[in-house]
């Protein structure tokens, strides 16, 4: 078999998606949410800020940890700013004060498997 010949592709701003590692923090309760409730919470945050039409773009909850409320989200790159702002402005869930923390953002999912800012 012939060895592969050299080829180089440079992809600039080519990622269709962006990926976010986020966590939901409650002020003073250890509230539990299911995956579906978690996604619903984000959908309603988007709707509150951008309205029915502005919020009509898909995103995926790729991974959700019920006991830590940490998640990995995938969103179309064109929806990143909207999703990010909606998460930032969310302030409560079922009348309990809470906030989303954006831990890491990247156009490459593989980048989220390492975060040197966590390094102890």
């Amino acid at each position: 078999e012939e060895p592969a010949s050299y080829e180089r592709l440079v992809l600039k701003n080519a990622s269709v998606y962006h990926y976010l590692r986020i966590s939901l923090v409650f002020q003073d309760s250890d509230k539990r949410l299911s995956e579906a409730q978690f996604k619903q919470l984000i959908i309603s945050a988007l709707r509150d800020l951008y309205g029915e039409i502005g919020a009509a773009f898909p995103f995926d909850v790729l991974k959700f940890e019920e006991n830590t409320l940490k998640a990995i989200i995938r969103v179309l790159s064109s929806g990143l700013v909207k999703l990010w702002s909606a998460l930032t402005l969310l302030g409560s869930y079922q009348n309990e004060p809470c906030a989303f923390r954006i831990i890491q953002v990247s156009p490459l999912l593989l980048a989220l498997s390492g975060n040197s800012r966590d390094f102890e």
């Binding site: 060895p3 050299y6 992809l11 995956e35 790729l62 990995i72 909207k82 890491q104 953002v105 156009p107």
Partner: protein, 363 residues
């Protein structure tokens, strides 16, 4: 309307995908590994393999230890003994610890003997050494980068230039930081690295290793000759790297297109990997250690194996002042500077290199 289109913009990012063969004379895989100095995490994925092969295991366990030195003044690096015994003897890497490149002063000593100081405007002006405005400033420079080449003869101890740099760092503004330090093949008999920081609080660390076995994972079919994939026959390199990210992060790859939570699915065509071994090492890892791992994975295929390929993924420190070689690196929304090899059985390889908004194009 302008505002709405602005909302759809996202930070600039670059992904380079290359294919070549390790035996190709012009292959630069070794240069790319050697030139990426500050590595925080490496992970190896081997399909059709239940436990980490013994060759890899012994390399993983022999990865160089590193030190965390507290409150270390930078001028110490320039002192004659340290300079001769550690810096000039070669391959000493040092990086300031828990300093954020988008807000703090950040320092790095490259194994080539270059000292890089990435400083805010006030510190830069107080220090009075010559540098360049950071490439990632807005209209008004708020950050400057000073590069001091300690291997340069005009900076030998005793020269005026040396005295000037020493005075700035020792008397003018005594810059200090916690540092991560490691050295390839340290001369432990003659002059152990640790003997240089006995005046400071320091601790020695071994890189931490975790190994897991994955079962029944759907896995895209790829062909080394076709980076862009072939319809119905193999997946393209971008689909593959997304899948690799999913598997490494423990993400479910078997969703239906109609699932409420996630529509992510392993791309087609695909096969099922019965077992796969995923080994991750975290620490302050030297390029030499990464290269040993890469070589060992190549040798893994010396004997016939079921695995069609293996991967080696390397994450750089997101707050390092350089990515590859002396290319300036910054942090904006993210600070990724990373690369990943897909090593095929016949010595063909794919290499992904990615950088974020504040970085040069990968080499």
């Amino acid at each position: 309307l302008t505002m709405l289109t602005d909302l759809e913009k996202c930070p600039r990012h670059l992904l380079v995908c290359e294919k070549s063969n390790f035996l190709n004379e012009k292959s630069r895989h070794d240069v790319h590994v050697a030139g990426h100095y500050f590595n925080y995490k490496v992970s190896v994925l081997i399909p059709e393999c239940g436990t980490l092969p013994s060759g890899l295991k012994s390399i993983v366990n022999s990865i160089a230890k590193y030190y965390l030195v507290k409150n270390f003044p930078i001028y110490k690096i320039l002192e004659e003994k340290f300079l001769e015994k550690q810096v000039k003897a070669g391959s000493l890497c040092a990086l300031s610890y828990k300093t954020r490149i988008d807000q703090d002063n950040t320092f790095a000593l490259l194994p080539t003997g270059k000292l890089v100081l990435s400083l805010d405007k006030d510190t830069y002006e107080d220090l009075g050494l010559e540098g360049q405005p950071s490439q990632y400033n807005h209209k008004v420079p708020v950050r400057y980068v000073i590069t001091v080449d300690l291997a340069d003869k005009s900076l030998a101890p005793g020269t005026n230039k040396y005295k000037r740099v020493m005075w700035a760092l020792k008397e003018k503004v005594q810059l200090r930081s916690d540092f991560l330090m490691a050295k390839h093949k340290p001369d432990e008999e003659e002059c152990p690295l640790a003997s240089c920081f006995t005046d400071y609080q320091y601790k020695e660390y071994k890189p931490s290793v975790s190994t897991q076995t994955l079962s029944d994972v759907p896995c895209p079919v790829i062909h080394s000759k076709h980076l862009k994939g072939q319809a119905e026959e193999s997946c393209d390199s971008q689909e593959f790297v997304e899948w690799l990210g999913a598997v490494t992060a423990g993400i479910e790859c078997n969703n239906e297109a109609s699932t409420f939570l996630s529509t992510y699915c392993c791309p087609d065509p695909r096969i099922i990997m019965g077992k796969a071994c995923l080994c991750t090492v975290t620490g302050f890892l030297l390029p030499e250690n990464i290269y040993q791992l890469l070589e060992e994975i190549r040798h893994y295929f010396d004997e016939p194996k079921f695995a069609p390929w293996s991967t080696l993924t390397v994450h750089g420190f997101s707050d390092s002042p350089v990515s590859w070689s002396t290319a300036e690196h910054g942090f904006h929304k993210g600070g990724e500077n990373m690369y990943s090899f897909v090593i095929f059985r016949n010595d063909d390889y794919w290499l992904y290199m990615a950088t974020g908004a504040h970085d040069a194009c990968p080499p």
